[in-house]
Symmetry: C2
């Protein structure tokens, strides 16, 4: 046995799974934000040399995956499986990007929680001996996401202040049995939580209940308190969603304000970049994790982090048919490698 | 360790994972086909009591999942995780259906290969000790799929003979550590294979190269010949795709014509039901597996089956932008439980 189930929704690995490398590539706007210097590459061309937003995102994801593999000192054939997903209908950014790598692929859909899902399933596979190395990767692109979920860019619509800005970016991690300075110790799998909210321009509010549910369940399953984590990192709740998460957890008796950080509030400068409620998209949590959070874990500045990307489950069709926007959040426990249990 | 990697793309479990129960619910047309009596339920109302095709599919999937859990003699809370996916943009059939079950969910996207992916990841989780029971489920619906990929039904377009008919149906399996009469012994994870074909009305041709690649790799990894399987079952290649698969494997020196069966050619009566090249959709492979293949494995009529659902990776947008239709296929090795190794 490679891990044990603990509590209701979690798995604790018997041997840690290491994050051997991480790579992040972002667009120009993200490069101009507060984390600009932390990303591996900033693409000046929003089309990434292609003819469509979708191909641009595919290229972005493929380049990021390749960079993570190179940074791990590996060749493509040494990666046993890729766990990949994106926001687009039928996950076409992933299908067309990473196909060229010639590596077996499990396609995922968890909306903006996809990096949490990919790191979960990838680490579960490595812990079980299903491969020496696997890759977790996800992406989003402002142009392809606006076209997919809201309005074509050329329409020039106004955005409410509760709306988030989809990150153009891709993050990838190579996971393995040994070699990295950060380790995954366990995961908490999220339920789909639906409070009946219907506003896709306020996805933070739609996702906050799912984030609350998964974080609370992680505390229960691992028998931990907020202070047992140096950081509790959500994906893209933004300003509105963050406050709702704090309130929901306070009602359950937990104050996470000291530990909490939201990737969507970190990636842009809210004052100068006009991104309203913050960043969002699969690429938001993924690029902030790889560029900002992972180095702090590797250096030991943060010894234990709960990484909880959050996803809003909806489509154009479900919105047009008047459906609600349920949320889901998958949590991964990441620690500095080589430290004793605390 | 719970399993070992073998060859390039496969995993062999140290202890088998059992298929404890299977459930299938289909629409009226499928109920009138040759497998009509084998399905658990046939819905006479194509809307399944709802107001939209998407909600109909969600309801269908939820009912099927619930039925599989009940047939296993379990309650919802005993299922540790659901592995679920469907064909719709952002997998909304899955998001809105199974949310009500209150079970943690990993969302998947593998187009019509999704049942292969769900059984693979589900059995990998059970073999590793990540839960006593997990559920694999997928669905498709003719109405929602035509709207998503082709034309609204009311448009009344003509269909070429190479086109397939999307199955209205959902199949679900409960997997566990003990208790069933069929067992999963290993899996072969598929690569995305792109021969550059672009016709979404001929998806069998688009998927056949991926099916060939995964089946060939399974033979290599497990050191087997076609005759080591009683059946080699693809998902929805249809008439055109089946011939291409045979030809491609013949070029590699393998004749699988004696063992091969395609779910898409089994579910409808090609002569009387006007379904052209056969059935397709996530629900095609899933319902045929649960209703027709699984009972034959459980009874020992077929002692070892290679189940290889096939997916065509495309979206309306990727088609309109002139992209090709790559394929993917995930294989699962299923045997009669209690038989010795042969």
């Amino acid at each position: 046995m490679s891990g044990q189930t603990i509590g209701q929704q979690s798995i604790q690995f018997r041997e840690p799974v290491f994050i051997i490398s991480g790579a992040s590539i972002v667009g120009k706007k993200e490069g101009e934000g507060p984390l600009g210097d932390a990303f591996d590459l900033v693409g000046e061309d929003p089309m990434f040399g292609t003819d469509s937003w979708e191909e641009a995102e595919s290229t972005l994801q493929k380049e990021t995956a390749g960079l993570a593999i190179a940074k791990a000192g590996l060749k493509n054939w040494q990666i046993r499986t890729i766990y990949a997903g994106d926001l687009l209908a039928q996950s076409v950014a992933s299908s067309f990007g990473i196909a060229d790598l010639g590596i077996p692929v499990y396609g995922l859909y968890g909306a903006c929680s996809t990096m949490g899902e990919a790191l979960s399933l990838g680490s579960m596979a490595v812990a079980a001996g299903y491969g020496e190395y696997v890759l977790a990767v996800t992406s989003s692109h402002f142009g392809s996401a606006e076209k997919e979920f809201r309005f074509p860019l050329s329409y020039g619509n106004q955005r409410p202040l509760s709306a988030t800005w989809t990150v153009t970016g891709s993050g990838a991690c190579v996971l393995g049995r040994q070699g990295g300075r950060a380790r995954i110790m366990g995961v908490t799998t999220g339920k789909i939580i639906d409070y009946g909210l219907k506003d896709p321009q306020n996805m933070g509010a739609c996702m906050a209940p799912a984030a609350c549910d998964t974080i609370y369940q992680n505390f229960m399953d691992f028998d931990r308190m907020p202070e047992d984590y140096d950081k509790i990192v959500t994906g893209d709740l933004g300003k509105v969603g963050q406050q709702i998460l704090w309130d929901l957890l306070a009602k359950k008796g937990y104050d996470i304000r000291k530990q909490h950080m939201d990737c969507g509030l970190k990636i842009y400068d809210g004052k100068t970049q006009d991104t309203h409620s913050g960043g969002s998209g699969c690429g938001c949590a993924a690029t902030v994790f790889v560029s900002y959070i992972l180095p702090k874990i590797e250096s030991g500045e943060w010894e234990r982090v709960l990484f909880v990307p959050t996803g809003a489950l909806m489509s154009k069709v479900s919105f047009n048919e008047g459906q609600s926007v349920p949320g889901v959040a998958h949590a991964v426990v990441v620690e500095t490698a080589g430290k004793g249990e605390r």
